[in-house]
């Protein structure tokens, strides 16, 4: 049996459930309602995306998404529990039912989308890059023939780097660690010539090096890394809730709604804003939530821009420009389907 057959079988099962979806449609929502909280899988500590602060509160872009879902379902952004997961175990945790949603800087790929769960959108557009010590004297990734590469195991990064070197006809040795800290420590100790991960990750981990200024990020971006949350297959309603939670945050930014002005915006005469905030229409009840779910999200967590600036934006340690993650109207690729 080949992988294609497996995928086909999985897809067939998923299809069968889509057909009989009515019976199971509200299972996760019901279970979550009963538990009183959402179980959300996050990383074991990636600054800016999901990281516990001094007081043990989880913060980050991915964490904000989980809180937004809690706000949408319970009107309480605190009704969420976090399960820190390594890259290796994250999908098993989702498919086994251990967590309700996986929001852990996970790259959306076709095989993952069919094997493990349903990606509901992209909350960060990334690409894989390389970091090298300046003393190596390398200006481009194409000069890396024969280099030793440190990376994370269980990631698309590990596969991309294999593909890249093979495509370029270059040799390499890969040293794959389980945790990001271990990768950084080994790279810092000179175990590898190159450190590769998503460029946002490079920015975040660079601060941990003993001499951050002695290292540079190479210009090449060798892959597309659309990072997004995912939910289990077979529960269309729960998938919709997750999808429109994210869409709400992005649409709110587009419409100029943020946590400070959400109350006034409720009175707005703009029909688009009225629909987003649930002042008009019954969009929320179509996915099993109250109509004002999006207003709840914005009040409790804020829109996408607020979350971005708070966690990874230029004023944070990571100092990442919006770049690709700007709204489509501002030259980025962030483009949420309209809420109507």
């Amino acid at each position: 049996m080949s992988v294609f057959k497996n995928v086909a079988a999985a897809a067939a099962v998923a299809g069968a459930f889509a057909a009989t979806g009515v019976a199971h449609a509200d299972e996760t929502l019901e279970a979550v309602m009963e538990k009183g909280s959402i179980q959300c899988g996050v990383s074991q500590g990636l600054p800016g995306f999901s990281n516990p602060d001094d007081a043990g509160e989880w913060t980050g872009l991915d964490v904000d998404f989980c809180r937004a879902m809690a706000a949408a379902v319970f009107n309480d952004a605190e009704a969420v529990k976090f399960t820190p997961l390594s890259a290796k175990v994250r999908f098993t945790a989702l498919t086994s039912g251990e967590i309700d949603v996986l929001s852990r800087n996970t790259t959306w790929t076709m095989s993952r989308d069919s094997d493990f769960g349903e990606f509901i959108g992209v909350n960060y557009y990334d690409g894989q890059g390389f970091m090298v010590p300046t003393s190596l004297g390398v200006a481009s990734a194409t000069e890396l023939d024969g280099a030793a590469v440190c990376t994370n195991t269980g990631t698309t990064t590990e596969l991309n780097v294999a593909d890249y070197f093979r495509a370029q006809g270059m040799e390499y040795t890969v040293v794959a660690f389980e945790k990001a800290d271990e990768v950084v420590a080994a790279y810092d100790a000179g175990r590898c010539d190159v450190y590769t991960t998503d460029r946002s990750g490079l920015a975040a981990q660079r601060t941990k090096l003993s001499a951050p200024d002695d290292h540079m990020v190479l210009p090449e971006i060798i892959s597309k890394e659309p990072l997004g949350p995912l939910v289990r297959h077979g529960d269309a309603q729960w998938g919709d809730i997750a999808r429109w939670t994210l869409a709400c945050m992005i649409n709110a930014e587009e419409a100029g709604i943020d946590s400070s002005n959400v109350a006034e915006m409720m009175e707005s005469s703009d029909p688009n804003i009225q629909r987003i905030l649930g002042a008009d229409g019954d969009l929320g009840s179509k996915i099993g939530l109250e109509n004002g779910f999006c207003a709840n999200i914005i009040t409790a967590v804020g829109n996408y821009a607020e979350s971005y600036d708070r966690n990874v934006g230029p004023d944070t340690q990571l100092a990442l420009e919006r770049g690709l993650n700007a709204l489509w109207s501002d030259g980025g690729v962030l483009y949420a389907p309209p809420m109507r």
Binding site: M1, V7, A10, V13, T95, E158, G234
Partner: protein
């Protein structure tokens, strides 16, 4: 009831519940039932859950190509295009290598430390005690992390040792221990034959020496002669055939050495940690074993005029072995299982590349964990089997 009726009754048979044999049957039937129900429930739940969540099942995934690189793949031809079954083999081989080498070294070091622990030299004894108490009482995971840092930090990078284009026959740097790859030329087989002949000769020699000692009391230095044979015969064959071995040096590229044989630092660090940790336990076992030999044996040996080092080797240790071997087995098993902590420092053992990376990519947790557990169980079964065989060989033969 008349008295005669009582006397004619057959021996009172216990009622059903009072009969231990029947009660045992009932209990066992109950256990079997409960177990069967439990297993059936787990299997059914797993099947339903997997179906409901659209998880793939079956072992077809083993034929899919893996697509990721592995840092060291001894004895197995592995490339990114290899399939997951080859990943499994690579992990298996790596686990076995570190377990076997680890057990041998831990045994040797453990014996030395254990005997040093009983040394009459005050300083040696204190150092051995310190060693045991320090390494036995600190979690292994910490020790692995420590040794990885300790191995990696002081070593220079390959670029500070070699110029690009250099041919290097031997180098120790933070990419590992790298030496030239020996390539056998035609005729080298003779060396293997010589080695085989040496081994056979040693067995013959040992039998002869023993028979002679029984007959005449004369001793023959079997160990040194054997060692001489083991090294000498192949060496003679090697030179006689005109040294049919070529060394292909590693070549310095812009970043690191290419080619050659590499022993990666992750392996060295893991081995250090496992050996040092396990040796502390083995040392205590050896100490306890030696102390378990009655003091009268030492005195009797001394009274017979047996020299101190012979006393240890011929009188004390053989008796101590009987106490040492059973707990030693557990230590070997522990070492094998503990090698799964390799994940922490990127050594590609079975748990890291198969139960880790492969599981993550295919998502087939049930199949992969079943295979992984089967491997560990088989390894421990083999170890226990071997040690039990050895134990029965050295067991005290009683009348």
């Amino acid at each position: 009831m008349t008295e005669s009726a009582v006397t004619t009754l057959p021996a009172a048979r216990p009622s059903f519940w009072r009969d231990p044999a029947k009660r045992a049957l009932v209990w066992q039937a109950l256990v079997v039932l409960v177990l069967a129900a439990f297993v059936w429930m787990v299997v059914k739940n797993t099947a339903t859950n997997m179906e409901q969540r659209g998880l793939a099942s079956g072992f077809g995934f083993l034929e899919t190509s893996a697509g990721f690189g592995i840092i060291t793949t001894p004895f197995i031809d592995y490339a990114e295009t290899s399939n997951y079954f080859q990943v499994f083999l690579v992990g298996l081989v790596n686990t076995i290598i570190v377990a076997v080498v680890g057990c041998v070294l831990a045994l040797a070091l453990g014996f030395v430390i254990g005997i040093a622990r009983l040394s009459r030299n005050w300083l040696i004894q204190k150092i051995a005690t310190f060693y045991i108490e320090l390494f036995r009482n600190v979690p292994l995971l910490l020790q692995i992390l420590f040794w990885y840092g300790a191995v990696l930090k002081p070593l220079p990078g390959p670029r500070s040792l070699h110029e690009a284009g250099d041919s290097v026959f031997f180098s120790v740097n933070n990419r590992g221990v790298i030496f030239a790859e020996p390539i056998t030329q035609p005729g080298f087989n003779l060396v293997w034959y010589a080695l085989l002949a040496a081994v056979i000769l040693i067995f013959v020699l040992r039998a002869w020496a023993r028979a002679r000692q029984v007959r005449t009391g004369l001793q023959f230095p079997v160990f040194w002669t054997g060692l001489g044979l083991l090294i000498g015969l192949p060496l003679i064959a090697f030179f006689a055939t005109g040294m049919p071995l070529e060394f292909k040096p590693a070549e310095m590229s812009r970043f690191a050495l290419r080619g050659g044989v590499t022993i990666i630092p992750e392996f060295v660090a893991l081995l250090f940690a496992l050996v040092i940790y396990t040796a502390a336990f083995i040392a205590e076992i050896v100490r306890a074993g030696i102390q378990a030999v009655s003091h009268g044996q030492t005195e009797a040996a001394s009274a017979l005029g047996i020299k101190p080092n012979h006393r240890m080797r011929l009188v004390i240790v053989p008796q101590a072995m009987r106490v040492i071997v059973p707990p030693l087995t557990s230590q070997f098993l522990n070492l094998t299982k503990n090698s799964s902590l390799a994940t922490a420092i990127a050594y590609p053992d079975l748990f890291a590349v198969f139960a880790g990376t492969t599981l993550n990519q295919t998502g087939q947790a049930v199949e992969i964990m079943a295979m992984t557990l089967a491997v560990y169980l088989t390894l421990s079964l083999l170890t226990s089997g071997f040690m039990n065989w050895y134990n029965s060989r050295i067991k005290l033969v009683e009348r």
